[in-house]
């Protein structure tokens, strides 16, 4: 009986760590959990607040307004023919999606310690649910953007949706995956080295300044040609620049940037999955 039985084990809990140990069947089995996690995140965030889900749109609106006052009115950053407010709103909405994904994902192990310490389910469900619930929030913010877009458009602002807009979901997916990848790497390291937690907070802030959120990519090349490479090798800058091109018809789009961004994203995601996979097995001993 031994030979037959050896093959019929459902799964093995082993000390050996495979490089990639990804059980899609199991993840699929837990799909309801993914949905419920997303629902929980969306429903509970603004419970017992007066304005409720309005906060989803108040945040980007006021940030965009502040940016417009500071960077465009005071610092005189040129946004071409596009109204600065719309320019900033687009950048901020997309950037917010990335930064919330990153910060929430990087806290995966620490904030779910209680559940992870008691019960097994594929850990990747948690970061995936973060990406999805933030996508919903981004969707709401996008609706607000569209409302302002229509307002400006009917007031004859020189804005035009580019035909490449059909690839916009793809760009957003790329943004989410990038946040997921970086977040998973950080979440894994933070279980052992708590120092990183402090780095993430201000690291994300600094990253925003080199990601072409409140200025066009071309402006950086113009004004600071010496250090423009920081922005040019930042895949986030390409994503934001490209999506602004799709939405507003401003800035540039180039094949190299997109290829480069896709490559980097998948490299980071691949690396993130490997390191996350290794960590999920023993993190409870070190966290």
């Amino acid at each position: 009986m031994s030979k037959l039985n050896e093959e019929s084990w459902l799964y093995t809990i082993s000390s050996k760590k495979k490089l990639i140990d990804f059980n899609f069947k199991e993840i699929w089995h837990y799909r309801d959990l993914l949905v419920l996690f997303v629902k929980r995140d969306v429903v509970t965030l603004y419970k017992q607040t007066v304005l409720g889900p309005l906060w989803y749109v108040i945040q980007p609106l006021f940030t965009a307004l502040t940016f417009t006052l500071i960077f465009n009115k005071v610092a005189n950053i040129e946004t071409g023919t596009v109204p600065p407010f719309l320019f900033n709103l687009a950048g901020i909405s997309i950037w917010n999606y990335f930064s919330t994904c990153l910060t929430a994902t990087s806290d995966t192990f620490k904030s779910n310690e209680a559940i992870f310490g008691k019960v097994y389910f594929p850990r990747i469900i948690v970061p995936l649910s973060i990406i999805l619930s933030n996508l919903l929030k981004f969707g709401i913010q996008l609706l607000i953007f569209i409302a302002f877009y229509i307002y400006y458009y009917s007031n004859d602002a020189a804005i035009a949706v580019d035909s490449s807009i059909i690839f916009f979901p793809f760009i957003i997916l790329l943004m989410g995956l990038l946040g997921l990848g970086i977040g998973m790497i950080i979440s894994s390291l933070v279980t052992k080295y708590r120092d990183l937690k402090f780095l993430v907070g201000f690291g994300v802030q600094l990253l925003m300044y080199v990601s072409a959120v409140m200025y066009p990519l071309a402006l950086m090349r113009d004004k600071l040609p010496n250090i423009a490479w920081v922005v040019e090798y930042n895949p986030l800058a390409y994503i934001i620049e490209t999506s602004r091109f799709m939405l507003l018809g401003t800035g540039s789009i180039n094949g190299f940037g997109i290829t480069y961004t896709v490559l980097i994203t998948f490299l980071i995601l691949f690396f993130g999955i490997i390191i996350f996979n290794r960590t999920e097995k023993t993190f409870i001993d070190t966290v």
């Binding site: 009986m1 039985n5 019929s8 084990w9 459902l10 799964y11 093995t12 809990i13 082993s14 000390s15 050996k16 760590k17 089995h29 837990y30 309801d32 959990l33 949905v35 419920l36 996690f37 929980r40 429903v43 509970t44 419970k47 017992q48 209680a114 559940i115 992870f116 310490g117 008691k118 019960v119 097994y120 389910f121 052992k192 080295y193 097995k281 023993t282 409870i284 001993d285 070190t286």
Partner: protein, 435 residues
């Protein structure tokens, strides 16, 4: 003595192994994770690069929480092997820190073993995560779905059992109220209800989860019995409560300091575990004190033999001391009897009796007679405290000084011996008449 292993010779009716643990070990690092971490990690990585073994796997002391470790690493589990047959209820028993929780964590896939592997043919779920994953802002019903999904149920499965779960929890009225308004007892009820309706192939039950009020405890334990007995489900049952283990399990493993010291039938395992406790007590007289010595100690039955005591019979505890300065020392003796759950059952104290006269001889015997022993049959730890009443100085204290076994006896003088089970802690004198 340590490796006394008795294998189960009973013929096994079902010959299908559903779970198999091979050479499971788990190493933990003691103390803080701090500045040493990076250097150890780098050492490990360097060893791996050269194709060598992890240098820290070789070190590591046996897990004994009472001794000071001489290494930074400790083996919480060492070379555990066992098999579980389909439909079997396996008990896992051991003292605090014996490695039970670590084994459970590995079985429920929260962490992986340092060496070895566990193979399974069924889905494992555990009943030990009561209430984790509840979100305070969500209603009872929403949390029910969320918690069920965390435990691996699909939405459809939960929906099919929804009314049953709510009914079992007894929280019908509050099911659409946010959980943050629940009392802690209600949370536990709801969480247990969800977990109880899980249907995994292998279920791990940690007995301590039977919380809540008396009514619900009874319900919970009843449900556990249903699960393990009724449905022919494979169950791993972890408990300190020997009565529950005997009641539920067909086979048991005894863990001690991270190693499996016994595997076999439940009765044998339980008595091995209890005898094991006795063996820990190893007094060799004389024991030196501050102001003298303990020369001898005996617990004698009614025939003045050094054997097990009988319920309802006379017995005596005799302690022989040598006191260096008998004139200025006023000795007070206190015995305390603890049951298996380390609960204090009774106290015998010279202080409450007029025996505090000062003797001038150096060697003194303190004899405590119990005319009619009213202790429920079982094993008890005997704690001893010796106090000098003049200086209030504790000369000796050990809560596990000795152990005593009480067997059932003719306590009611009717010839009808009460059975061990369901007797309670206190056996009252009683007389009956029917009018």
């Amino acid at each position: 003595m340590r490796t006394k292993q008795i294998t189960n010779n009973e013929p096994r009716t079902t010959m299908s192994v559903i779970l198999k643990a091979e050479n499971i070990s788990k190493q933990y690092r003691l103390g803080l994770v701090g500045t040493g971490t990076i250097s150890h990690d780098l050492n490990r990585w360097w060893a791996r690069m050269r194709g060598k073994e992890d240098p820290y796997l070789k070190v590591g002391a046996v897990n004994d929480r009472s001794t000071k470790a001489d290494s930074d690493y400790v083996w919480a589990l060492k070379a555990i092997n066992f098999e579980v047959q389909k439909g079997e209820v396996l008990g896992i028993i051991g003292k605090n820190g014996a490695g039970k929780s670590t084994l459970l964590k590995i079985l429920s896939r929260v962490t992986i073993p340092t060496t070895g592997e566990i193979k399974t043919r069924g889905r494992i779920a555990s009943l030990l995560e009561v209430g984790t994953g509840f979100h305070p802002e969500l209603t009872g019903r929403e949390n029910m779905y969320l918690n069920g999904a965390i435990l691996g149920m699909s939405k459809a499965e939960i929906k099919a059992k929804e009314t049953e779960i709510i009914e079992f929890s007894g929280c019908q009225r509050y099911v659409d109220t946010p959980v943050k308004r629940y009392s802690s007892g209600m949370r536990v009820r709801l969480a247990f209800a969800v977990a109880a309706f899980l249907e995994p192939d292998i279920l791990i039950i940690d007995e301590v989860l039977a919380v809540g009020d008396a009514e619900f405890q009874k319900k919970a334990i009843g449900k556990m019995q249903d699960i393990s007995k009724g449905d022919g489900r494979t169950v791993l049952f972890v408990s300190h409560n020997m009565a529950a283990v005997k009641n539920l399990c067909t086979r048991a493993i005894v863990l001690e300091n991270g190693t499996s010291v016994f595997e076999g039938g439940t009765e044998d395992a339980v008595s091995f575990y209890l005898r094991k406790k006795e063996n820990v007590i190893d007094n060799s007289f004389p024991i030196e004190l501050d102001k003298g010595n303990i020369l001898d100690f005996n617990i004698l039955d009614f025939k003045r033999n050094n054997s097990n005591l009988l319920l309802g019979e006379k017995c005596s505890l005799e302690l022989k001391l040598e006191i260096k300065d008998p004139k200025s020392t006023k000795i007070n003796i206190r015995y305390q009897l603890f049951d298996n759950n380390e609960k204090l059952i009774t106290t015998l104290n010279t202080y409450h009796h007029d025996v505090n006269k000062i003797l001038e001889t150096k060697i003194q015997s303190f004899i405590c007679d119990i005319p009619n022993l009213k202790l429920s049959p079982g094993f008890y730890d005997v704690g001893l405290q010796i106090l000098d009443l003049n200086t209030k100085h504790v000369l000796f204290q050990n809560d596990k000084f000795s152990e005593v076994v009480v067997e059932t006896g003719d306590v009611f003088k009717t010839g009808k011996l009460p059975s061990k089970q369901n007797l309670g802690v206190f056996i009252s004198e009683q007389s009956w008449e029917i009018k």
